[in-house]
Symmetry: C2
Subunit: 370 residues, 2 copies
Amino acid sequence: MVDYIGVSDVQRIVQSIGIGTFIERLSRQIESDYRRWSDFEKSARLASHSPVGVIELMPTSNGRLYSFKYVNGHPKNTNEGLLTVTAFGALADVDTGYPLLLSELTITTALRTAATSALAARWLARPESRSMALIGNGAQSEFQAIAFRALLGIDELRLHDVDPAATAKLKQNLERCPEFEGVRLVVARSTAEACQGAEIVTTVTADKCNAVILTPPMIRPGMHLNAVGGDCPGKTELHPDVLRMPGARVIVEYEPQSRIEGEIQQMPADYPVTEFADLLAQHPRAGDSSNATTAGAGRRSASEITIFDSVGFALEDYSALCFLHELVQEQPEFGRKIDLVPRLDDPKDLFGGTLGAAGMKPRARLRAVG
Amino acid sequence: MVDYIGVSDVQRIVQSIGIGTFIERLSRQIESDYRRWSDFEKSARLASHSPVGVIELMPTSNGRLYSFKYVNGHPKNTNEGLLTVTAFGALADVDTGYPLLLSELTITTALRTAATSALAARWLARPESRSMALIGNGAQSEFQAIAFRALLGIDELRLHDVDPAATAKLKQNLERCPEFEGVRLVVARSTAEACQGAEIVTTVTADKCNAVILTPPMIRPGMHLNAVGGDCPGKTELHPDVLRMPGARVIVEYEPQSRIEGEIQQMPADYPVTEFADLLAQHPRAGDSSNATTAGAGRRSASEITIFDSVGFALEDYSALCFLHELVQEQPEFGRKIDLVPRLDDPKDLFGGTLGAAGMKPRARLRAVG
């Protein structure tokens, strides 16, 4: 039997262990996997394009476990009451090829993206950072807010979206969270206003174009930028001049993919970037909230402008599937079992072990042919 | 909600509609999809190799529906009581990117392979063919036997395997099938003996090497060869001289894939082959058992040696998933529903619609951080 985690299971898991703890534990798994970067097979996504969207398969493996994610992107879906992005995936044992876990990944992707953003920020943002501008208040924004609250102790969020209804929805959702009691939620009339006084700026906008969300006048020395929304060819959020600012350094997940999908698609091929795994390799001690000395340890100076150019990499889905699989191993009631693969007494007798009994009843007689 | 078909569901479906009818209906779906050949995106498999096996993703799409199959190949598994090959897959709506069906494909792949073999044989074997040699009596052999019984009315099966236990298992399984009452099952001491008097020869052996199962002295004019076991690089079953026999013609599923994986990997790149879709295109009327005039209509002469060099193509998995999806649309009790994708009242509010209520209970408080 294969473990299964559906939407209701993820809801139950998050309710049971708490969303902050979930994101914190997941971020530890992601950091630990990034520290084994060279073990992972890094292949391109396998994309199937149609006039209205794309369906992709994102596989990876570290030689011990294999994972893939199915994910679609259909911007027009929201007009039909459907999600732009849905996802699911599986974890498998490389030694036997058997699937171990099948899981929903729509909610989980939002959680892993936020966990990755906050993880990078814990290494890169100045440790005293407590105010974050959150530009783009759509489907991903609550997850980002909660991750930064949980991992960095953000106590002021400065919200802006071109659609005031999106900001109202985000504000309402956060105000219902006990975790955000005492957190100042400031609704800003512009991106520039949102950035005023913020030490961290997260952009997570949805427009599929080369948008200019952030420009140099909004950026101050020492800021950390978490650029999440620019994540496919033709979709960026930062004015290229931001990337050219003195003291700016771009950190990416996987350089070959980010050159195509990230903010740096706007820059020449020799524009220097740092891979997150390389940054971690310089700091052997794991960073977590119980280890304050690693906070901001990834930056070169207090005035450096650190830019995490996040596009989402298959390793993070691998980490999420491993984390969920660990959770159901620890607490079987977190998941369910499905009969995705046959169990046979004799593996050489597929027919006898499956259909031999079931398929051959008299009522199943073949009709005469020939 | 997404439809789910597990191992027990496939067992129930086959029991309910009968394995012969299942294979016959599936073969019609496969023929109908091969007739829309040019609509399909044909991409390579995405393979992840390890020292002990391979895990592959096989996607395809015709612009309306998208499918992929996850499949592993681990020859050493049988020594550990596990299957060499397991598989599962999904069908999705190209217009929305939403998954529609998730299904087991271990049993279903054996059914679709047999359905494809028998479908090709109905077009290629001489209509009077009633005796089939079945070389290789392992996990796939019952499925092949049943498909040829159902679609071609085979009344003699001549069995051979290097492992007598495999033949004994096959014979026992078939003797339990009411459908095989009156069918002569002949156990042959050699491949040559099995081929004597047979009009069709099916090879479905498991050795992962360039084996020589069939040689020219075993082959007579007018025979149809169904070469199933040679299906990956380095794995073939026919002596190359069989492919060079006068009057021999090779029919493949998808030429670029078969050049690498099929029997024709042994031949020069310009060795002529016919794609099955091209053959069908010359015969606009669908072939099925109620239409005897199409039987053998794909051969050029009564003496031609037709060789179906089958490796298994993603389109056939697509057909199988479509067929299963149709079945659960007609009879919902054939499947189950799983919550693989969230349903939201407001697609722009992923958090509020999923975790907003569930994740934010007091017990889920974040621990103080920072």
